[in-house]
Symmetry: C2
Subunit: 301 residues, 2 copies
């Protein structure tokens, strides 16, 4: 009997990554291409998998971690769709249905952030945790919560980027979020940095006051998340977090915001191990998509 062959798609708003693998960290073939129209992009992914099957034998299951918003509710008629995305061409795209119909395999489906959180959890910085938080701070702020190797969904899925934050006294910026103004994303994602300081973060020097303020807002959001979830680790990636000077300041502010209430060495002393950069930043998404495939393998179509 041949080994089950897994397929995965990291469906991003700007690029697709497709891979086939015998295990989530044993990738045999991989391809990356820019996200175009749904039909063109999904067909290209499907043709890649078809070519892989010719060479390697039948694919057993597929996992997709997708940009969104997506509908994950099994009871919903739109389950498996990308729904009301600002990428208008992709609105109401039945991405799961497209592949299920053509490949005739069970399809695991989750958000891109949750897939990356799962990948980072199993094979990266979350590998020794049963409850952790994974955040990306980039053009938006997204987060995934993993409990016992599964991404938490609940009603929909967490939207930690939209937690309300209190503006700092010295900051008069009104926030960029069309829904909430001064939520965490509105005050601390890449576009907020760019609008507040008049240029993109990448062009600001390392000792620019932007980074201390950034650390302060992120820590304020983290405090609410720590009190609600009690994560064993917080993994923070995305473009903004490449400014590694944010980390030490943010750890100090988190301690201040918690005010001594959560009296654990992870928070008061060993913070370098509590709030960390991802270990597999660029691979976490596709690894997680393959984990979703592994999870549904043999579960029926």
């Amino acid at each position: 009997m041949s080994k089950p062959l897994l397929a995965g798609i990291e469906a991003g708003g700007t690029k697709f990554v497709c891979a086939v693998a015998y295990s989530p960290v044993d990738i045999i073939r991989e391809t990356r291409f820019p996200t175009a129209s749904p039909k063109e992009t999904m067909t290209r992914a499907y043709e890649f998998f078809r070519d892989c099957e010719r060479e390697l034998g039948p694919i057993t299951s597929l996992g997709i971690g997708s940009f969104g918003p997506v509908d994950l509710d099994p009871a919903s008629p739109a389950c498996g769709h990308i729904t009301s995305t600002p990428k208008l061409q992709w609105a109401d795209t039945d991405i799961v249905g497209f592949f299920k119909k053509r490949m005739n395999v069970p399809v695991g489906f989750d958000t891109d952030t949750n897939a990356a959180a799962l990948g980072e959890g199993r094979y990266g910085a979350g590998r020794d945790c049963d409850t952790f938080l994974y955040l990306t701070i980039g053009t938006g702020i997204g987060g995934g919560v993993v409990v016992d190797n599964r991404a938490l969904h609940g009603l929909v899925h967490p939207e930690v980027g939209h937690i309300r934050v209190v503006p700092r006294r010295d900051d008069t910026f009104a926030g960029t979020c069309p829904f909430h103004g001064t939520c965490l994303e509105g005050m601390a994602a890449g576009p907020a940095i760019q609008q507040r300081w008049g240029k993109p973060g990448i062009e600001l020097p390392e000792d620019h006051p932007a980074w201390d303020l950034e650390a302060w807002y992120l820590a304020q959001g983290l405090a609410a998340m720590v009190l609600t979830l009690s994560p064993q680790r917080i993994i923070m990636g995305g473009g903004v977090m490449h400014q590694s000077q944010i980390f030490p300041a943010m750890r100090g502010y988190l301690k201040e915001f918690l005010g001594g209430y959560v009296d654990r060495p992870e928070i008061t002393e060993e913070q370098e191990d509590y709030i960390v950069f991802p270990e597999r930043e660029n691979q976490a998404g596709i690894t997680g998509a393959l984990l979703l495939a592994e999870d549904v393998a043999g579960k029926g179509k």
Copy 2:
């Protein structure tokens, strides 16, 4: 073979409830008595169980839901202890050890709030949810998070009462929390109501402005919790929530705080079913303690 006999203790700061049962909702004997010194109180509980065993046969396992703070970390030498509680007589009490030594059975242990959350989840308002939030608003604000029938612990356990809230413009109260001042507990627990208005909540009329303000603070805290956890339901009990006029106002404010971002009928239309009062308010704690017993039965001592 006789049916396994479960024992449970709801160890509260003011009273102990002890029960033996063939299932968490099939209680055979129950006793309640005030919490005195640790030795006196725990001995009384132990004697109750010993008497039950004489009559009903051997107890298979014990579950304890305890006031705290408690140490739940299996790696800690103080695991199973009540630790730095303001009830000084009880500080550093090895409650699990006391019963394990005398009864020689496996002991399940969690916070009183988590036990109540588990009880309410399995047999109450959370029975159809796999992810829900259980809150008690009384002399403090505590919360339990249940995911797939298990109470979430993570690093310690959630402490949602200490989420920071923004004071409302018309409220100058400085908050009662010695750690954070104006956190949710500091602004909205029973003592905050009493200090702000000069008399306990129970003496304020139903249409007093205290209740609208209370609803506003609670909703602000709930917004952060909804965005972090995505619960399928929020169950809110405790003395303050007996003021049932809080519920409709709180549901409206939650919708406002979320600003349309979580666009689900549970939040925008069917709120009466999303934020609810517990179904088993007085029995949830002991039921949860028995669930903890059931969970460790047969798992070794």
